[in-house]
Symmetry: C2
Subunit: 154 residues, 2 copies
Amino acid sequence: MSEVISSAALLEVWQGNRRLTRRVIEAFPEKDLFEFSIGGMRPFADLAKELLGIAVPGLTEIVDGDTRPLSEDMNVHSKAELLQLWDEATEGINALWPRITPERFSERIALFGQYENSVIDSILYFIENEIHHRGQGYVYLRALGIQPPFFWER
Amino acid sequence: MSEVISSAALLEVWQGNRRLTRRVIEAFPEKDLFEFSIGGMRPFADLAKELLGIAVPGLTEIVDGDTRPLSEDMNVHSKAELLQLWDEATEGINALWPRITPERFSERIALFGQYENSVIDSILYFIENEIHHRGQGYVYLRALGIQPPFFWER
């Protein structure tokens, strides 16, 4: 079986995507970040909080094996606070990542006590979920008449 | 360097995402698939055509090395035609994939004559671009009052 992505490259895929998501957060006007939505979906700040609730807590569970419930309940009321949490998570991810041993990627876990999957598939899901929600954010920005960052910019 | 994703697993990530995108195409009413949009963005049929213009033509270039320009110009005027092209591309991808040699993934190419990148990063880009555009499609469906398929369904 040929393996095509290294652990280090996968981290860079994730952090590259997180840098783009950070630009999307920045592109929102303060009020719209927390209030604007389409079709009953959540405002982008809530989507970003979901991503924050998954990233470091999920990786911590992957590294130390302790299950904890998913929490997206964060005391965040401004773009500056959200961006600060985002940057802290960037550092947190970089610190935790090297502690995922090569064997660990193929082990099965019950993430947040409920999502049974291999570690690698859980991490791919983190990234896919982020790209998915960021795609929502692009539509919000366009609907607000704001040019989003280029998708290929990382 | 520990490698964490095999070629076969990456194909399954892509095809799992493509199955979900297919469900999103199916969820659109015929007329809205080709006409509905938000904020001046393209209707979902045009996004799907972009994905079709990338997948098999891009993989063909990766396999045989012949550069060709990107074309999203497809003679498609119904959901049934679009789904048929989608299914043909599913088969096409499955047929081309085993022809990507392990060494090929790390080689640099100028995809469609312009996007310089390694083969693995090009393929990851195909998948990320699809998730991104499908995220747009989710907002279109919600704005139309239609429940999209579950994101985690593959």
